[in-house]
Point group: C2
């Protein structure tokens, strides 16, 4: 997309390209290094965008030691490095650069150790999110953060973006579920951060790594907290006449101190798109819908649902439809989780990812419609309402540069609105390139400077995922 | 205590003492600056130790702006700063230094805003922990982390040490319950970190501040997550013949995926000491005791307790005693929470604070007894068993330098044991001075260097609580 601004490629690096590739070839087994353009093409973009850029080379190491050797070499040669999980990023975080090598972690995908009594699972960080839950499911456990892309996305990517998901309302996002990490720093040194205890002495560098978008190092192993599966769980669909009614109902449920395991919002366009794709049994005669899932024993579920139904009745609910079987439950979630894919079938879209205090939901939903309509575009809303994590999908035609520009302006207006009502620019997709130039709306110069100084401790040459997160013009360079 | 090593006081600062004090006097209202030795004496130590040292001056500012002005002045003058909450620190974190000024936050104690729908409370950070829960109790909420010192300790101190408490097993420690903070940096600039949304873009500097022991800045305001009070709660006492039996029972309960709201361990010496003080109805004919608290509706409590009783029966439980009233519940907790005070009435003690994987509890309890007995001393154990957070109290006579040395050696051996079994040096008391020289047992040189480089970003002159956390001899100084 035209709106994506990279820093200018470093001509000095590009001029040494052949020597760099030869050096890498001498360093790793031949199947670890990919330079063939046909094969590199699989890495030239991410899930977010039509924008494409070929990296200098792609490396797919098989061990922490290989990652360390590559990182040490890149430090010595001054080569930029873009880390990549599965490339499902929605904000441009994994987009390569022509003067950078991409280090993909997809081959680091083994389960290392399940410590059942301590309820922790040690994995290589390139394992997919879903494979983690699958590894512990036979013992009755699961890993809580569940991005919609969980079939493909990696734990390394989840850590880089502090990923969430529909079920994070109750169990927290990635930072609440990662206990330790093995990280290869910019100079190739390997550090262990955190551990499987509840606290560690000294500074919480693990917390700093989570959400750092590949700019502080590459996570190669992780110790994850896994949780006992609930006895049962049941989603219920609630249909409302308007988005505002549904938003007010969410705010009232949260305000009443009820914490369902998930509380997902879909407006009319999103319902129609997902129902057409997934045949999930969504009500088509309503203006907005909530999927509220409650878990526990049957009695607990009944008890909590009764309280939720009372609140919903007070907010003009029109349709209430409970799942009656595991199949129906799977259908309901399939509809929700396929929202992005299903939308992509009917239009190009820009998916924003702001977060707001839940009490602001009714107001923000109304303002978002007005903003997008003001640009002559349509929006479909499908998001994690319980924790106020918005995902407006702004629909447009990517072949029309003017529509793209309008969509991006509408997106920026929406994120600015999120900040204005006391929320923030991101929920779980990260800043990447998409929100980079909006960061000054969230932070003062002093606050950004402080973040950049900390970043520079880990990457003094500013070589790790260099064009992302911090605005290009005022990024801080160490003396 | 003789074993506490400060860096040598900076003679250049001490020589300018009068000028520095005069400068501070010109900066703040007269009642904010304390230089009178009689008044300063209240600040010359902390809860941990008999060690005393008078600060150059004590400042008790009333606003973030006053803190900022003092910090800017200290930066300009190169003066060290030790931040202080209520001085309940158990690891020497708040011990003053003669070449430093102490900035106490006790007057920053107002509740600023209760956002009920979003379940957040904004406070000035010098407010006491208990006052936070008191502020939201009328609305049916509470603040989860509950250090035993909660009547006195401040939120600022809780943030500095990442404090826990008996009820953190279910609800997490401070870092899981703080959403935002206003921090005055070393140069006097004021930054807002985090916010009341679930995630923020950019680096997680808030997570870095939590547990940083006053070395990155001074927290003056905080946004706290408050939780709905449970419908009910009931503690039960379980008595066992041996500590190993009780430890194995804890590991089995956690291993079964049950998460009580609290699971406290006391061995025979601790039971006797606490019962004599609090008349809590503890069984005196057992070798070890667990206090397990379960919360929810009466039915839920009964259901979960039944599962716990089954597991306890499988581990040779001898006594099971349920609380039958709110008064009994209060007595049971009073006994546990007064453990440190009650122990202090009968002997001097050194309280260690290591954390281990719960599966290692039986082994570690046995080894701790052997270690302490090997030095000819006694130990009382009272700790948060559910999350493996040990608090062995090593009893000794402080007037006997040899006993003190033995107690300290036993303490160091115990913490080393914690690291060896996969745990760590701290649970919730911080590193301070006490564990500073043990840090190389937990971290490699590279890992410590990385922490110190990050610390230096916030405090390049190494002036904030300078003698704490990092070993004096190899602390990293920026060029």
């Amino acid at each position: 997309m035209t709106a994506i601004a990279f820093a200018q490629p470093d001509a000095a690096i590009l001029a040494r390209r052949d020597a760099i590739v030869a050096g890498l070839a001498a360093l790793v087994p031949s199947d670890v290094l990919i330079t063939n353009p046909d094969e590199c093409r699989a890495y030239e973009t991410d899930a977010f965008t039509a924008y494409r850029r070929m990296p200098m080379a792609v490396l797919l190491p098989r061990s922490t030691q290989e990652v360390a050797a590559i990182m040490a070499f890149c430090q010595e040669q001054g080569v930029n490095v873009v880390a990549r999980g599965a490339g499902t990023s929605l904000a441009g975080g994994a987009i390569p650069q022509e003067d950078a090598v991409v280090i993909g972690v997809s081959r680091l995908n083994r389960v290392l150790e399940f410590d059942r009594p301590n309820r922790t699972l040690k994995v290589e960080a390139g394992i997919t999110n879903l494979a983690v839950s699958a590894a512990v499911a036979p013992d009755g456990f699961f890993y809580a953060p569940d991005p919609s892309s969980q079939l493909a996305c990696t734990i390394a990517g989840n850590i880089a973006m502090n990923s969430g998901g529909a079920h994070c309302l109750k169990y927290g996002v990635t930072t609440n579920n990662v206990l330790g990490a093995t990280v290869v720093l910019a100079d190739g040194s390997i550090v262990e951060l955190g551990g499987d205890a509840m606290d560690m002495p000294g500074l919480d560098l693990l917390g700093l790594i989570v959400g750092s978008e590949g700019q502080l190092g590459i996570v190669t192993e992780a110790i994850l907290r896994v949780l006992p599966l609930a006895e049962g769980a049941r989603p219920v669909l609630f249909g409302f006449d308007t988005s505002e009614d549904a938003g007010a109902c969410v705010a009232a449920i949260i305000g009443a101190g009820i914490v369902p395991v998930a509380m997902e919002f879909m407006d009319k366009p999103a319902i129609e798109i997902c129902e057409a794709f997934a045949k999930a049994g969504y009500p088509l005669d309503v203006g907005a819908m909530l999927i509220i899932e409650v878990e526990g024993s049957d009695d607990e579920i009944d008890f909590t649902l009764q309280k939720i139904v009372e609140i919903a009745n007070g907010h003009g609910v029109k349709v209430i439809k409970q799942s009656r079987s595991a199949t129906e439950t799977a259908q309901i979630w399939k509809g929700r989780k396929s929202a992005f894919g299903a939308t992509g079938r009917i239009a190009d879209y820009l998916c924003m990812d702001g977060t707001i205090p839940t009490s602001q939901l009714p107001y923000v939903l109304k303002r978002m419609s007005e903003i997008v309509a003001g640009y002559g575009l349509r929006v479909a809303n499908v998001f994690h309402a319980g924790d106020g994590n918005l995902h407006p999908l702004i629909l447009f035609n990517a072949n029309d540069p003017e529509e793209l520009a309008k969509a991006e302006m509408a997106g920026a207006d929406i994120l600015t609105l999120c900040v204005e009502v006391g929320g923030c620019l991101t929920g779980e997709h990260g800043v990447g390139i998409e929100k980079r130039d909006l960061m000054p709306k969230q932070f003062t110069r002093e606050e950004l400077d402080q973040q950049m100084r900390v970043r520079a401790v880990f990457d003094p040459q500013w070589r790790l995922n260099p064009s992302k997160v911090f605005p290009l013009e005022n990024r801080w360079m160490p003396q």
